[in-house]
């Protein structure tokens, strides 16, 4: 029984079957990658997990509880955090403020009316946020305008923000898309460290095979909305069906 159990999920957009009978089980404390060609339904699947989309049929269970019908913030409070393809941070706020918001969310829940208290008096939140920034080597940037940072820094900040909530499951949507090689490697190192240091499950959607094979313990290949195979990285590498899905039938025949 995995921490995340997806059973028989279907999703249609008009005439298009985006997801067809998807079954997926992510084991606790593992790194699970979901790969597949463009249009395979990876992002649709991810959106079904975080509450942005609701599947037509099927079930999505996280730690034994259904996430279906809950809104994104409720699902997040259950322990699922999401990192976006393009870093989604609060660009108009300072780096420290960015970091404090998930700390508030962790401590106070989805809503708390604290309109008269001063932010400056929240020592415990500031300390925790500073600690998290330290952890990703960004403490010196704490007063910086978050929108003014490089893409790599934004990515690190976003991941750190997700971690501040101490999620049980971290979902990453092509975390290295559009990144320079050095930034990609930094991100891989960061994720490796997170995996080693924390009690956390990571599910990652990725195009870059270098990233996938550096991190993943299990890989699910999605093609045309359905899981093709699920196996260890070593077995996936040589799998004919995978090559077919990625390279097309002619390539395999040749």
């Amino acid at each position: 029984m995995g921490i995340l159990e997806v059973k028989g999920v279907n999703k249609r957009f008009g005439g298009l079957q985006a997801l067809g009978d998807v079954n997926l089980s992510v084991a606790e404390n593992s790194v699970h990658a979901i790969i597949g060609p463009n249009g395979a339904g990876k992002s649709t699947l991810l959106n079904c997990l975080v509450g942005k989309l609701i599947p037509d049929t099927g079930s999505v269970m996280f730690e034994g509880q259904s996430v279906l019908g809950r809104s994104p913030h409720e699902i997040n409070q259950m322990g699922i955090s999401r990192v976006f393809q393009t870093p989604e941070i609060f660009t108009d706020l300072s780096v420290l403020e960015n970091m404090m918001i998930p700390c508030f969310a962790k401590r106070d829940g989805a809503f708390r009316m604290h309109a008269i208290e001063s932010v400056a008096a929240e020592k415990e939140i500031i300390d925790k946020a500073m600690h998290m920034l330290d952890d990703v080597n960004m403490a010196d940037k704490k007063d910086m305008h978050a929108g003014a940072m490089s893409r790599g820094d934004k990515r690190r900040l976003e991941i750190a923000m997700c971690l501040a909530q101490e999620p049980r499951l971290l979902l990453l949507d092509e975390p290295t898309a559009g990144m320079a090689r050095a930034d990609t490697n930094n991100t891989i190192d960061l994720l490796k460290r997170i995996k080693d240091e924390r009690d956390i499950t990571i599910a990652i959607i990725e195009h870059d095979m270098h990233v996938v094979f550096s991190l993943a313990e299990r890989i699910t290949v999605l093609a045309q909305g359905s899981p093709l195979v699920e196996d260890t990285p070593e077995n996936i590498k040589g799998h004919p069906k995978v090559r077919e899905a990625y390279l097309g039938e002619t390539a395999v025949a040749a």
Binding site: E88, I101, A115, S118
Partner: protein
């Protein structure tokens, strides 16, 4: 002090000093001099400065922090005025209960409208709030003004809840169960604070200068200072930070386990209550409430004030409200005779030319000036007067600030 950091405390103190000394500061020109028409230190105008200041401060909590542009905030102003008037009519002329009801009712009304309007964002939110406000205006103008007493009665509801076009007025037959229906000499009593009449004023003559101290102004000013103080606290609170986060990236907030809806609604209700407070104060200063206070141009006016002063800044809305009310009252008083007297030193032909050039922008044309200034601000100075002030400061203090930045330790002080 008062839970504020040093910078905010000095800002608050500055505003306290300015508002308390306003009767002096706004009357710099001696009585009878040619410049006396630029004096703004008379109670009626000063009251408007602070009352619209409150309105704009509240609007800024919504628009400045969350970026949600409401085009219907005048509805809450109107509700506040009507509520205060009914308190005066039913219970008595003390302003505190009237303001209390104004704030509570406008808050409830804002909760209803906000709950529905906030289901949409962007331009749809703007249009929903606009539609609600215009509906409120139409209702106040007609439906709620119909005789609810029945044909032959001359009671309280003879002109409905709102009094329609002529507005809601006090009469000698109002019950005022905790006060007096009429004064000893048979007049309608005036709003007061435990006996201090709002319209009471004393003049102080120093040389050629006449300074007027009005109880109404000082009461409104104190209410404004409290409102201002509260808005600083809100800006510096975790709640305020959440609102800025909503403006910055609502999606990320959602995926950070926070529910934007109640935050937004709270901001909407708070700003609605500020508007109601301003509306109640208007009724307290001049006991009359009409539907035109809810018309959409009134909502547009508070938008102008907030943008002109500096949206999202603490002091901006107050400055904007002051600037617009000053223009409305002073600029509009200048006529061509006054212009001619100013430019009398020029040769005749040139004088006429200059006067003709300026004339469209003053007097009745002050709206034109306002529109142009507003456009220039939106285009070139999105931070409003506050940003303008900062730019000027930077221009003059360039050498000094560069020195400051080089000092070690400055960058590492916590952002408070």
């Amino acid at each position: 002090m008062l839970g504020l950091d040093k910078k905010d405390t000095s800002l608050l103190l500055l505003v306290v000093v300015l508002t308390m000394a306003a009767p002096f500061l706004l009357n710099p020109f001696p009585e009878g001099s040619g410049m006396a028409q630029f004096n703004a230190g008379y109670p009626d105008l000063m009251q408007r400065f602070v009352i619209f200041g409150i309105f704009a401060i509240g609007f800024n909590i919504l628009f400045g922090l969350t970026g949600y542009l409401s085009f219907g905030h005048a509805a809450f102003l109107g509700v506040g005025s009507y509520a205060a008037m009914w308190m005066f009519k039913l219970f008595g002329m003390n302003v505190l209960p009237a303001l209390f009801l104004a704030v509570v009712l406008s808050g409830l009304f804002a909760m209803l409208i906000g709950y529905i309007s906030l289901r949409r964002s962007g331009i749809y939110f703007s249009i929903l709030t606009l539609a609600f406000a215009m509906m409120s205006y139409a209702l106040a103008y007609s439906v709620l003004a119909t005789d609810m007493d029945g044909p032959d009665q001359q009671g309280l509801l003879q002109k409905g809840l709102t009094g329609g076009e002529t507005g809601l007025q006090l009469t000698l037959t109002d019950p005022r169960i905790f006060g007096e229906a009429s004064t000893e000499d048979g007049n309608i009593p005036v709003p007061n604070l435990f006996g201090i009449e709002m319209r009471a004023a004393t003049d102080l003559e120093i040389g050629n200068w006449v300074f007027t101290f009005s109880a109404g102004y000082y009461f409104a000013a104190v209410v404004m200072l409290i409102s201002f103080y509260l808005s600083i606290r809100i800006f510096r609170s975790p709640f305020g930070m959440m609102l800025r986060a909503i403006k910055s990236n609502q999606q990320r907030l959602n995926y950070t386990g926070l529910n934007p809806k109640p935050y937004m609604l709270a901001a909407f209700v708070i700003s609605g209550m500020y508007a109601g407070l301003a509306g109640g104060l208007m009724a307290a200063m001049d006991p009359l409430a009409g539907p035109e206070r809810m018309f959409w141009t009134a909502s547009g006016e508070v938008v102008l004030m907030t943008i002109l002063g500096g949206v999202g800044t603490l002091i901006g809305p107050v400055l904007g409200a002051g600037a617009i009310k000053y223009m409305e009252n002073i600029l509009s008083k200048i006529n061509s005779d006054i212009l001619h007297s100013w430019f009398a030193f020029l040769p005749d032909g040139l004088e006429d030319f200059v006067v003709a050039l300026i004339y469209p922008f003053i007097g009745k044309g002050w709206h034109l000036t306002l529109g142009i200034i507003f456009m220039l601000v939106v285009i070139f100075l999105p931070g409003g007067l506050v940003e303008g002030g900062q730019r000027i400061k930077r221009l003059f203090g360039r050498g000094k600030s560069a020195e400051d930045a080089n000092k070690p330790g400055k960058a590492t002080t916590p952002a408070e």
